[in-house]
Symmetry: D2
Subunit: 306 residues, 4 copies
């Protein structure tokens, strides 16, 4: 992720300057501000701004005049209660703004989370840089044979090499052609809004993305999950570390009640109760389909996640 | 709006403390932080937090690495361009959080603006204070005879007195009954979630309300408008002053392109063109209904608003 | 819920008329169309329109050219898979529009569900009818002593009578005063937008409310729950019956995976695994607070809900 | 837009079958149901379902028991009043569901309209077809020299040919490579979720897209506009024809008050008033910047749009 000297100077200037504010300040995230956390081969996540901290969640839940409760331990307990009982509105009272550089195919998954504000770099207005995501060898995976939308074993040897050669070659050619079509030397030059259509989905774009903590948790729950595509998961995991430093109590509650928890169906709950009473439950007597039963057993046997 | 000594002490403590931050700060709104701006007889608006400033709007529009443009004059020009051409997403990158005390009938209008975060004081969980909105004499208006949903002349004399007597008497009795039903002296005491149903819609409630600048402008456009009910307009106007101090360039653009501007229909635009060419246009030749024509003439003749 | 003869005639006329359509039609909900399902003492829920059926959910999930799968059994399996794995977007492809008559204090809870479309009867423009919710004796409950926002035992004897007398008396007086302030006989008459402020929160209002099936399920999950206030739960339960007739497969999946299911925290899941391996887990070794542990034991012991 | 025989048979079967319904039906849109309206070289828009008609807008605005007003002319007048005065909620009570086939770079613009429901064909789960958008010669335009995000003159001769050769050649090669990477003949085969990243943004995708009429009008206002990129405008214009047949009164109001209308700033309105009084206003005395003044003069002089 090579920043230009100008960009780095802008960032350094912002990091160096502090001003006094009366607003709630969260020391843990101040340290992240403006720094680019590298993700994938050319991407990053930068915290541009934030609003609120753990105490602000409590303050909103209580519609209070002051700032949170007197004792920090009470804040923690209330935040855990709110998370456990799905009281989501106090978490909406904290907000974060990120600057993200990411491949277009990742951006297309990300944008499906609609409760957020987005400003994307415009390829109608400007010319995209020639940076493309090329997976590291350990992420170049075969199609899963068990799961229609998942990955299997890592590709090896000649096959891996062929894929990398294709990705690198096509990216380079596409960018050469992009510049050739845009060029105005001895020709008119194609409109930027048209020339971009020839670029593959692994080219990097950038955006400012802003959302509240409740919706961010929803995003992280889906995208920091092992079922998410690795490339978006890499961004989600970078953001998880930021959130942990920003609102440690809310993060702890999210980790315990969402990331590391599990949902049981009516049948699953019934089976657990019967098993705890000593009954030997089988798929046939579980009320579940074979697929559900397999997922249920895996849940009860697997080591704790999160 | 009498704050208790404890509440005032909490607010004073928050106002007194400043901490250094790397975030964008807007000096004009820092001065407002936590202070309660009085609205109506017992209500207020308090700025609890904000994110961003004029430069942050520019920064998001450019998806830039630094903070706004080098020259402040360029920021202003770009912000006006964005507002004029309905580019709304950069304005979504600024956010504000307010603590508002307001009568329930005002809250019911306000909540219709759905793109916002809300935490309201819970009358299931807590007991409401006995504060009711009683209009000042100059706001005690008759039903408009011209407009189904508007006010006419101010009530006077005996009629005004009768209305005030009813409002004051019913509010006092309702609150006495509320307390009598809740009381546990010699009885079980009615559930709070039921007792509240007997309170009239002019009792005050409170909430934390958070929204982005684009949606706030939409709220202000509708609610700071002469057609809005006076009581919600009073809140909108208090917020307008805060916004002007927070993001002066965005405010100026909003004032010039929205609050003070006007929308012409296809027929209205056609009539203006014909009138400028010297044609004498009448309702009959305008293509408009009588109602539209009346509104059109009023627009062309009235003094500039805003 | 007395409908006027004119209203009933309008409804009967709509129910009597059918027209042929090429759209997906769900026979189970056609039978409900326009009929008013009574709720509380004067309220109702009427289905005004709907879009889609179980097959339409499948069709959208597959982005298919035809209508669902060939075999109905496949539709059921796919719908259950989608619900189990939190694939919510196909459920957003079904939509329902309801006409609801409900007390204002219920409307204030309901409106917090923001992802919906609402048109409420305007008390600025029109005059409200004099209908107020008075709880049936079995719903007149004391404040819970265990739960800050819940109900305890039913009130009895003189206390119950006192409460009912207050509610009935205040409602009648408030409506008399409303009419007296609005009246134009020998006076100007107060503006409707002001007069309404004196009416208590148990007066009935009406609205058209439209939402998609995913958001409706979210609403029902929260509001058909035993922790919801009885009065809104009564509406949620009426809607549950409509949904069961409309999209039986989606309803079944929602019942099994949401209504009747349960969420385990990381600690809860860990405890279940240890208990199934024969370990004697106590609150002290559970990693849970006392409150959580109590809720956890209740979950494992209670009979299956839903 | 070649549909497979199976797809065409599915569509024909749906078109042929009608069932009786009690719901509001709109004859004008019934004729469109399921037919694919061709857009660009391989794309289409298909109406899959709709809810409501002009009368349903009126019915919701009145929160009425019956269906619209007695007289159709009253419906039209009320709808125009609602549109003129920005009463948007009744228009949210009509809903439409479309199946759209569109290039990915168009989908990326479209998805920015967040208040909609979307189910997109999954290239993680399935293999994309080899269809790419190649502009017709008359849409192969040069970059505008006046407007950073617009098109200028049409490319001609050798330059046009070079661009088309690049687009066609790269599309064919990209699709060959896509298949080569996915293939399992003598190799493992790359995961579909990775292979798709090498495909350019002019490949076609498909989705189901559902939105309400108010948000659809907002989409059409921005995307059927001359400033929108031609390729998305082609879709917007196809949808405009559907809407005109579906809700003719609402369409007429939208055309007159939005599409064909114009917004004046406070300065613009002031200048119009002064010009109508006979004053000779210049840019210097207008209070506008040079850019605004140019836009203002163009507005007053241009022929009526829409």
């Amino acid at each position: 992720m090579p920043l230009s000297p100008d960009q780095q100077a802008d960032i350094d200037a912002q990091r160096a300057a502090t001003t006094p504010t009366r607003r709630a300040t969260a020391p843990g995230i101040e340290a992240h501000l403006y720094s680019a956390i590298p993700v994938l081969d050319h991407g990053f996540v930068r915290v541009v701004d934030y609003m609120g901290d753990d105490a602000a969640i409590v303050q909103a839940a209580r519609v209070s005049y002051g700032a949170g409760t007197k004792a920090v331990s009470d804040d923690r307990g209330l935040i855990r209660y709110l998370m456990r009982h799905w009281h989501s509105t106090p978490f909406e009272m904290a907000e974060i703004k990120l600057h993200v550089k990411l491949p277009i195919f990742v951006a297309r998954q990300w944008i499906r989370h609609r409760t957020a504000n987005v400003n994307e770099y415009s390829a109608r207005y400007s010319i995209l840089d020639g940076e493309f995501y090329i997976p590291a060898p350990e992420h170049l995976a075969a199609q899963s044979t068990a799961n229609h939308q998942g990955r299997g074993a890592v590709l090896e040897g000649a096959e891996a090499q062929r894929v990398l050669d294709i990705l690198r070659g096509d990216a380079a050619r596409a960018y050469d052609h992009y510049q050739a079509m845009l060029g105005t030397e001895g020709q008119q030059g194609l409109a930027r809004e048209l020339a971009r259509m020839n670029l593959p989905a692994n080219i990097y774009t950038q955006w400012y993305w802003k959302t509240d903590l409740h919706n961010l948790f929803h995003f992280l729950h889906l995208r920091a999950d092992p079922h998410a595509q690795y490339e978006i998961r890499a961004y989600a995991e970078a953001i998880c570390k930021v959130v942990e430093d920003w609102v440690p109590h809310a993060w702890g509650a999210f980790r315990d009640y969402r990331l590391g928890g599990a949902h049981l169906s009516a049948q699953g709950l019934d089976c657990v109760r019967r098993m705890l009473r000593g009954e030997a439950v089988t798929q046939e007597t579980s009320g579940m389909s074979k697929g559900e039963w397999r997922e249920f057993l895996a849940l009860l046997e697997s080591e704790r996640q999160g």
